[in-house]
Amino acid sequence: MATTNKELAAQIAQLQEQNRVMAQMLGLSPESGTVNETERADYIEHGSDKHAVFLGLIEVLEADMEDAKRNDYILYESPVSGRTWRLEDEISPFMAFPNPDKIAALYLRQKVSSLESGKPTIPDGAPTLLMPQSGF
């Protein structure tokens, strides 16, 4: 039996978690809005390894650097993180260009920037949500 509000809140959180696990075990699907985003099947965290895979980027580690250079991969060292990246596929997307290496390098740089810029921020000037209860 909870004696303080804090304990009561902890018990409610525990029950909610048990309820969620139970629902998952039974195959019940709660409303999408209540699902924890990070547990969604299509959740990819910004800047994560999964995000890099999604973007078709491969990190070139120090140990692989010689090999990468020997294979003439187009490399890009991020000025933000210092990590070096290469494209998973340097061929097919750029075949039609007269100077594929140059385009691939630009493409690689943009992808790394997308990866390393992290979670998008909400612009300062973003308007608030119009809630009729609080008036427009």
């Binding site: 039974l26 195959g27 019940l28 699907s29 709660p30 409303e31 999408s32 809005g33 699902v35 985003e37 990070t38 969604r40 099947a41 299509d42 959740y43 990819i44 965290e45 910004h46 994560s48 999964k50 995000h51 999604f54 973007l55 078709g56 596929d89 097919s92 997307p93 750029f94 075949m95 039609a96 260009f97 385009i103 691939a104 493409y107 943009q110 992808k111 920037s113 997308s114 810029s117 992290g118 979670k119 998008p120 921020t121 909400i122 612009p123 000037g125 973003a126 308007p127 608030t128 949500l129 119009l130 809630m131 009729p132």
Partner: protein
């Protein structure tokens, strides 16, 4: 021309008079030259009038010109009302699914957003487990949006320019513009953006608008799943962008070679551009969004509710409470609306419309976030 010649003649005469005073012995000579100059001016003056060149010894009379009547002639008054500015259009209709509600109360919309369970292997004499079915409930509600304008009787009578003639049309325009801004706010508001950001890299990014980023957005749509984790058929169709990105969008659309993933030749960036004039941003950090087409995929990014019987804005005028009579107790007849009301002569108009949408503290206005993608446009 006449005035110039007249002035030149006067100068010539003045010079001859001065010279005659300085040299009295040559007075006759200078008088002759002054007279010749005068004759020459008369000849030119008459020539301009189409008259024959007959020398008249009579002195030239003072000519009255418009400059002598500064106020009565030279001040010409013309007043004209010019066309107003052309405003930028926002074609928002493909982004929102129209919905009709019966009244001002909240209504509910249900949608299957998760497929049924997969089948399970069942052993001998074993009973299958019960399947389940999920559903999603969304609300919709409409509200009244209005603006009132009042004019004095005198103002409208004095309006000889017709400055207020198109007032009703402008009021209709303001209603349409307000609705366009309202729709723009569906996705630019902080809660809707926060929702997409929280959903991860398949729903948001920071990159500036380039072909590579459009490609990322399209790939992200291609990897979305329903409530049960099954792949969905949903596509990024509409690119909604800040007006500062217009040239960039046109370049992307017109380029024949685009570095799309897993393609190698043709431009496959077949999105439909929509310029949102109400989206804010400071160059070069200009936001852009991609949305699904609800007609193709049933993934509805936004919903716009309208009340039944009220499909568009209405311009309303308060009926005049005046009637014209010939005797105090005789019957009256209606008067022209420009007479306004009995007490003050005011003419009152208002524009009214009814619309609304789904509003939620977590989802923002995103009826279905699976149909939306956001980029802050900050990363180079």
């Amino acid at each position: 021309m006449r005035r110039i010649l007249q002035k030149l003649n006067a100068i010539h005469r003045e010079r001859m008079t001065t010279a005659a005073l300085a040299n009295p012995e040559m007075k006759e000579h200078y008088a002759k030259r002054a007279s010749d100059g005068n004759d020459m001016f008369r000849m030119l003056n008459e020539g301009m009038d189409g008259l024959s060149h007959q020398f008249d010894p009579a002195p030239l009379q003072e000519v009255m010109v418009s400059a002598d009547f500064t106020y009565t002639i030279q001040e010409f008054v013309q007043r004209l009302a010019l066309e107003g500015y052309k405003m930028m259009e926002f074609d928002w209709t493909p982004l929102v699914k129209p919905d009709t509600v019966p009244n001002y109360l909240q209504v509910y919309r249900y949608q299957h957003r998760g497929s049924l369970d997969d089948l399970e292997l069942v052993g001998e004499k074993e009973r299958p487990r019960a399947g389940s079915k999920g559903e999603t409930k969304r609300t919709n509600q409409v509200w009244r949006w209005e603006k009132e304008y009042d004019f004095s009787h005198e103002l409208l009578v004095n309006d000889d320019l017709g400055y207020f003639k198109d007032q009703a049309m402008l009021m209709g325009d303001s209603a349409r513009r307000t609705l366009a801004k309202y729709v723009s706010r569906f996705y630019t508001n902080a809660v809707s953006i926060a929702r997409l950001v929280a959903l991860g890299a398949l729903y948001s990014q920071n990159g500036r608008l380039t072909t590579a980023r459009v490609s990322e957005a399209r790939m992200a749509f291609g990897q979305r799943v329903d409530d049960r984790g099954n792949p969905m058929e949903v596509e990024a169709v509409y690119l909604v962008y800040h007006r500062g990105l217009h040239d960039t969008v046109m370049q992307i659309l017109q380029s024949t070679q685009v570095a799309e993933l897993a393609t190698n030749a043709k431009n496959v960036v077949n999105f439909i551009p929509i310029k949102d004039p109400y989206m804010t941003g400071t160059a070069p950090n200009l936001p852009w969004y991609m949305f699904a087409d609800y007609k193709r995929s049933n993934v509805i990014p936004f919903i716009l509710g309208r009340r039944q019987g009220m499909p568009g804005p209405m311009i309303l005028r308060r009926r005049s409470d005046i009637e014209s009579v010939t005797s105090m107790l005789g019957s009256g007849s209606p008067v022209d609306p420009i007479m306004g009301d009995f007490e003050t002569g005011n003419i009152v108009l208002k524009v009214s419309d009814v619309w609304g949408t789904y509003v939620d503290g977590t989802e923002g206005n995103l009826f279905d976030y699976r149909g939306a993608y956001y980029s802050s446009g900050t990363a180079p």
